[in-house]
Symmetry: D3
Subunit: 131 residues, 6 copies
């Protein structure tokens, strides 16, 4: 698959190569995953996404592990297999236990199900739910 | 809207009415929201969903407030306005602060964005991400 | 709502007006619903969709009522409230009973749920399922 | 792929193994497909889904083959390749002919198309369609 | 609707108010649409999205009107009625003619349709299409 | 993958074979891609889609390359990997440069992101945006 080739370190432009190096340094690994190598054809875009993802997914009012679970939930509903795999791996790295993974799946399944029921029933939003 | 009429207490079958009463008791409110009144045309289905939602969304390895955020994430990606409204209200009732809501939105936006990038690039799942 | 105005009979071009008249004749009603009035800005497109929908949704190897249920299922998963409403009305006109509607909802809910579980688990297609 | 390993019979917990055996008995085959082996990490969830799917997909007001077509329709709109494959195989096992499959595809294509047109046009639901 | 209240000029924080003023200045209108007023609860997020949208949607290798059509296409497939409305209005402001709008709808309908056919058929990507 | 086998030239019915030949002639290549070979089980459907796609995707008020970008945008949001690959190849054949591809990805990412924000915020359509 791939609509563009994945760029190796030697093929990437210097600005892209600098992002690869930053990914390696921040993650403490030599491995740069496919998403970044595909995005590297547009080094400015690559850098913008990498900078933004660090800002958004880091600690804050919501715990980083919880953010990964939210990411998995969105990616599942959008049917993005790559994103589900990469963020499940990230979540495990941040402490996702099998019990948590099991409950995450139950919540996703429940939400998918009632999303369908609500839409098929055409239920209108209760006034009580409007801010 | 609505592909079926919402059932009032008097119109609902006894089994459905019993679920309405259980919703009131468990939630400590007299209000039964539209989803349950639409689903009440099929009392067995209504009861099954209500029972299941309590089992899934209660305390466990994942905190109930986190579960609500996951629910919102799935519902957003599926474009279910009703579900987004009802579960955002539920999340606020369980302690969602404006700061948390703001970060939830940032994570959802980030995930939606990279879901699109990954799919448009046709990125293949890295071997490293496969269990 | 609406990104284009709905066209009344007097505002529509003659080719669009002819489709409106054909809709009335085929359905035995004077009412032309909003979808056709919005699509009428492009009379050739209007005619093509109207002709095609009659060919696809009529009797064949699959019963017309079953086709309406399939249409509702797709429209639900795509979150198209208009389509869910119009095709649920059409299904009722073709004999959808409350029992059938209830089971349709159960199947939709089940499919939505397992779609989510399968995607979150990243399950690969069994060789046995490939044609 | 896979965010969790598929569990073989020996790796699965006794409660999960019991579900595998029930799947085999009910279906009259020795084969247990990947979905169940992935879900088996959470035996209670596995059992709940298996029990529910039997209740929902069995005979009732809607024919089991029609239910499979509805399942395929939802799974297609959600982009769940696994679900499309497994339920197309199930539908064939319940009598789906090539002619029916061809018409199913035509209805799905028609619904997808008008879902897009309706949303891009922002068509409001006709009062006549509201229950 | 709304999971948060829309913020008026007086209710918004100074940083958010500054973005409102920039929107007015750049667009040459006094009107600030609902999206920005909802996002204003998180002024830094508001500013980041407003800055980014200007950078992405401005002139470049792709014409700004074409970018609006691409935006409408994504928003339609995601079922985001608000986004379809706001970007169709923007496209009209940038020169979208009724003929172009008509063709845009035809392409969206065609893509939705074949997306469904391809997924229901489970078609594998041709080697020839891989970069 | 595949819910039906791909039909080779010898296996296809004469009407389907005629479409294959027309694809070859119009495209000036001997290669017939998998989508058409899967659709060929229903020759009338195959011919209708092929005829329609030529009418819709050809020159008109919108440039054919722009139409391909719109097609990619819809297919990305729907998560159709096959469609993304085939239409990115088609776009490259019609002149898509790496700079245009990069900007296309940026617009898709921006639209996905704000689609999520708008839905999670439950923003109502401004009166100003309604036709």
């Amino acid at each position: 698959m791939g609509t563009v080739p994945l760029l190796g370190d030697e093929e990437a432009a210097p600005e892209a190569r600098a992002v690869f190096d930053d990914i390696r340094a921040k993650r403490g690994t030599d491995y740069v995953n496919n998403f970044w190598r595909a995005l590297a054809h547009d080094p400015a875009h690559l850098k913008e996404v990498w900078d933004r993802v660090q800002g958004v997914m880091g600690p804050g009012a919501i715990d980083p592990l919880v953010k990964e679970m939210i990411y998995i939930a969105v990616s599942t509903a959008n049917g993005c297999a790559y994103c589900v795999h990469s963020h499940t791996a990230a979540a495990k790295g941040k402490g996702l236990t099998p019990e948590m993974h099991g409950e995450l799946l139950q919540v996703i399944g429940m939400a998918m199900r009632t999303n369908g029921l609500v839409t098929a029933l055409g239920v209108e939003v209760d006034e009580a739910f409007k801010a």
